[in-house]
Structures are given as C-alpha cells and as structure tokens.
C-alpha cells in the first residue's frame, strides 16, 4: 500500500529533476478577504440594477423563468401560481429561518402539502423521513445565497435548514432572492468564496455549494437538448424588490 510519505517522496524526487516549463504564478487571492468582500458589497449596492437586468437576460437565455415581486409576502402567490400551472400538490421548502418565509402559513390552507426542512441537528430517523418527502415533492422552494448576473447562475450553500435536495429532487425549483444577493462576475464570486472560507466554521454550516445555471440538461442522445434528465426540468427565480 502506498503511504502519503511514499507518494510525496516519489513526487519530490521527480520534481527535483525539473524547474518547470516557464516562470508562472497562480491567481492571487485578495490579501484580506473580508476587506475585498466589503468592496464588492459597496460596488453592488450601486450597480445592482444593471446586474439584475443582466441576470434576467442570462437566466432566461438558459430557459430560466424570472419573476419580480414587491415584497416577500408576495412570494407565496407566485409559488401558488406555479403549482396551479403544474398541477402540483406537494411543495418542499427550506426552513423558514433560512428562507425568510413560512410557506405553511400562507399555502398550507390551500390544499397544498407543504414540507419544511428541519433546522435542528437531524437524527437518522429525521433524515430518512425528510428524504422520503423530498423524493415525492413536486416543487422545491429555496433561497439563493448569490445570484450571478454574468451567467444567470444561482449559488446555494447547503446547511442547517437548507437541504441540498430541495433544489434537486423536485421537478420544479423555485429560488427566492433580493438585491443584496446580486453579483456581477465570477471574479466577485471568487472573492465571496474566499471570504466564506476564511472562517468556514462560522460562516457555512453545510458541506456543499451548488452553482445552478438553469435546469438539468443533457444532449447525450443525438445532441438533442433535453431538460430535466435528473434534476429539475424548470427553474424559477423570484426577485423580491423590498428593502
């Protein structure tokens, strides 16, 4: 069995034989991630309207469905309309603390079955039952930690009350975000991620970050574009204007 010491020892012997092909440097992360993040936030506090326009264009280009509402309280109405259009009965949602909104209060009385992700440390039983519910749900409602304008991408960090599968197992994914979430470039995403990882124990409770750029797609049969091969067939983004 090869050990770490064996492996790295052999590697170092090979590395000692060459100085490489040319003088080269990696990309430099910002020296102070938090400071860089503050700069991004300041930039976006001014530039978010352009970013939103760009986000919408790019998101629609990849078959995303864009909605704009005035207040958070308007979101359930959009979800209700999507459910009606799909004939869907079951909705899975991030925990209200993560989403900023409790869909059970607004939609639960309308014949829709609403499942909300647990926000306590789940035991095996809770995990099993959540999985069964997630597998059955037709619509998944999440927040978005960032919305990247350049590519029409929603970025979601997993964690407590924010399951990975809410944006994956249901055939329709609905993500809710506001102007504080908008970023304009991948370069800014890099800064945001550096800052997040500067203190990951405090800043992210989960192990996974997903960049979601439109619905699940494949072109593996005769290069014919087909949506919803494993993940959602449809992705909706609801932009909330308020605050």
């Amino acid at each position: 069995m090869t050990t770490r010491a064996d492996f790295l020892g052999s590697l170092r012997r090979e590395m000692a034989k060459t100085r490489g092909l040319f003088e080269a440097r990696t990309a430099s992360p910002p020296p102070d991630a938090d400071l860089a993040l503050e700069t991004v936030k300041r930039q976006m506090a001014e530039r978010w309207p352009e970013a939103l326009t760009r986000f919408r264009t790019e998101f629609e280009r990849i078959a995303g469905v864009f909605h704009r509402v005035g207040r958070l309280e308007d979101v359930p109405g959009v979800v209700r309309a999507i459910a009606a259009e799909k004939g869907a009965r079951s909705v899975l949602s991030w925990h209200p603390d993560a989403l900023g909104l409790d869909l059970r209060q607004s939609l639960g009385r309308e014949g829709l079955s609403i499942t909300v992700a647990p926000d306590i440390d789940p035991d095996a039983e809770a995990r099993q039952s959540h999985r069964a519910e997630a597998a059955e749900a037709e619509i998944g409602v999440t927040g978005a930690d960032w919305a990247l304008a350049e590519t029409g991408t929603l970025i979601l960090v997993s964690g407590r009350g924010r399951p990975r599968s809410t944006s994956l197992l249901p055939a329709t994914h609905v993500a809710v975000f506001d102007r504080h979430r908008l970023l304009e470039s991948l370069e800014q995403v890099g800064i945001v991620l550096e800052a997040l990882h500067a203190d990951p124990a405090q800043r992210m409770s989960g192990a996974m970050i997903n960049f979601i750029t439109g619905p699940s797609r494949t072109a593996d049969i005769e290069l014919t574009l087909t949506r919803g091969v494993h993940g959602p067939k449809e992705v909706h983004a609801i932009f909330v204007e308020g605050r």
């Binding site: 790295l8 090979e14 964690g159 699940s216 797609r217 049969i221």
Partner: protein
Amino acid sequence: MSDAQLRTPFPQRAHAALGDAHLQEALTIATTKFIGLRKESFAGYPAGEALRDRARAIKEATLQHLDRHLERLADNVERLGGHVHWAATGDEARDIILRLCRDRGVRMAVKSKSMATEEIELNDALEAAGVKPVETDLGEYIIQLAHEKPSHIIAPAIHKTKGQVADLFSKELGGRFEADPEVLTAVARKELRQKFLEADMGITGANFAVAETGTIVLVTNEGNGRMVTSLPRIHVAVMGMEKVIPTMTDLMVFLSILARSATGQKLSSYTTLVRGPRQPGEVEGPEELHLILMDNGRMRQIAGTLREALYCLRCGACLNVCPVYRQIGGHAYGYTYPGPIGILLTAMLNGTAAVKDLAHASSLCGACKDVCPVRIDIPRMLVELREHVDREKVAPWSERMVFGLARRVMASPAVFHLGARLARLAQWPFVRNGRLRGLPLFFGQWTRTRDLPPVAARTFSERWKDLGRP
C-alpha cells in the same frame, strides 16, 4: 476497449471506422456542432483569451509546487472528516474502492461520469466483486447498457442514434420505447432516480480540487453529480493528482473557460463544490467521504516530455477539431482517452509502446493547440513521441529503416543529388498518369492511400545550374 479490439492493429480499427457510414455522419454532425458552439461562446467573451493564458500559468505554477498543494489538500480534507488515499497505480486505486465496498457491505454504487474511473476500468472490477456499478450520466448509462466504451470525453454516446438507444432501452429495461430523445431521457430519469435513492455508494471523479479549502469540484449538466454526492451514505472521489489547484480564486479562472471550451455554455448547469462529508446541521449528504489521489503514470511525466499534458482539463475541444478524430471517432483509438490529447494521455498511462501507431494518427495541423483552453502544445509532444518510438525501436523496422535512410540522404547534398538521379531511373515502372502509385515492398503502405509526384525529369538545382546563376 476489449482485449480483442486492442489486438486488432490501429490501421485496421481506423479502416473499419472509415467504412461505417453511420458513424461518419454522427461524427460530422457532433463535432461540427461542438466547434460552432465553442467558437460562438468565445467570440462573445473578449476576456477569454487572457483567461486562457492565466489558466495555463496556474496549471504550470501548481505543478511547480505540486507536493505542497497535495499536502494542503489532504490536510484539509482530513480536517473536515474525509479520508485521503494515495494510489501509485490504477490497480491500487481499484483495490482501495473494492476494500471499501467489502468493509462497508456495499451492493450497489451509482457513478457520475468520470474519466479517471474509466481509466482504471473500475466497473469490471466492481462487477467481479459482486457490486453493481450504475453509470448515471445519460450517455454513460447508454453505453453501459450496450456494453461499450465512451467514444468522446464529454459526449460518450455520440456514435449512437436515437433508434439504437430506443431499441437498447426496450430490450434492457423491458417495454417498447419511442425513438424520441425526450421520451428516452424520461425513461432514464425514472429508472435512475430509484438507483440514486437505493445505492450505498456514490463514485465520482473530480474536475478540480481546491487545496486551500479541501473542496472537490464537479462540473456536470444533468444533476447526477449532485445526486451521487448527496444521497448515498458513502462518497468516493477518484482523482488524478494533477487536478489539484490552490485556491477558489484560481477555480474561478478555470470555470470561466471550461464549459465554454466543452459545450459553449457560459457555465455548465451544475458546478458542485463538496467540502467533506455531511456536516452536523445537514439533513443529507454522505456519512463518509473518501478521496483517492492517483499517480498511475502521471508522476514520471512531471520531469518528462509529456509534462504539459498534465494541464489538461478534459474538455474535449481538441477532439472536435481534429481531422483524424473527426474521421475515425473515439473507439478506433483503442484506449480510454481518444483524440489528440488522448494519444498523449495513453502514452503517459500505458507507456510509449502503446502509441507506436497512434503517435502518427495526427496531421500535426495544430488545430488542437489553437482550441485548447490551456494552450497545450499537443503537436510538439506528438512529434517528440514519434521521435521516441523511433529511437526506442518500438516503431516497425521498415519505418525506422526508411526514415533513417531519408535522414542520411537529406543531410548530404551530394547523396541527395545522387539519390534524385537514381530515383528518376528507378521510378519509371510506378509512374501512372503523372503520379507515383503502387510502390513495392513496405513503400506500398504509403502509396496505398495516397500518391506522390514523381521526381522531375530535371530537378530544380539542375535547372538553376543551367541558368548560370550563382
């Protein structure tokens, strides 16, 4: 590729592919489409060219301190509760996975598309050990049902028609399915959804691994990569050691050009960053995460002639533009990695003897280098490989003899002139309609598919001399 197919020499495999009209059509359509999508994507992205230079520099700089980056990666993955395994060979990587399966009672493993696991022929080994491997990328699923191998790095089943896929699904899954990609995709969705929920283990490759954060990065379009890393209780990632990059800032440079090069998308549908197994507050995610860092022939190229091939992102762009790949497709190459970069990777993983024919399966036109997101100089390395197979006497003796002779003739003006005069006499039985055809002996291998202009009645230098010029 099966042993039987590998025993067929490359020229025969290529010849068979050339005679397959359906394959020819599929290849033309697919590669032309990919070329157009890539071109369009970069045309609308002025920053792209500079980002390609940066990406190339990051790969080279990372290799210059590869030991340090791998150490950081391993430390961080372990700190997050993951396990790191070091595999010198493909056999060792396979054994690590088989041992995990045995110890953890794994009966079924779902896989997202991974060239690294193709490279170590993991599926056969799993099956032999009583573990059912299920490929979940639609293209990979199709070829697994058909008992074939991928024919393109990013579109594994481009050689199959929808009719063939419909027949295959009908036979293997029971039912009668229409030859409509929409219908067939829905069939696969239903079939595989169940497998994701039932499987004990998820196996992936890694497009990148970020050393400073311990993050494994998967780039997919279908969402199977997310399923495989979220639902089963164990996640195993198999990764060539050169896939490590230092930071998130570096990752953004690669993400901005990878999908553009592969499919012309700005980003693939899903970019998944995995940082350790399930964390305490999470309701999903694997209990165990294993990262296998694999050498398998890569290490000796750190200081070898194929070092630059270690920059490869596996985007497939060089396949689409290669005039040879476009004619013969992926299977004719006979190994895991097809196309121009595939020849280099085959030499790296299987030794130079494996590419004694393949090293010549290139016109050296340079199109591959032009489209490579990290500007790998593939033609230069192909020439070096040709030189190597000649020097190491793995090339056939007739080829070495002819080129050895040519070298001596070209090196001396006197011998060259004498040669021209001799050739003028010797060639007459073979000149037909003003072209040299049907040469005897092994020279005939050249003229079997091409002809040559005959040596002129009066050579240029003879006419020059007659003109009385200096």
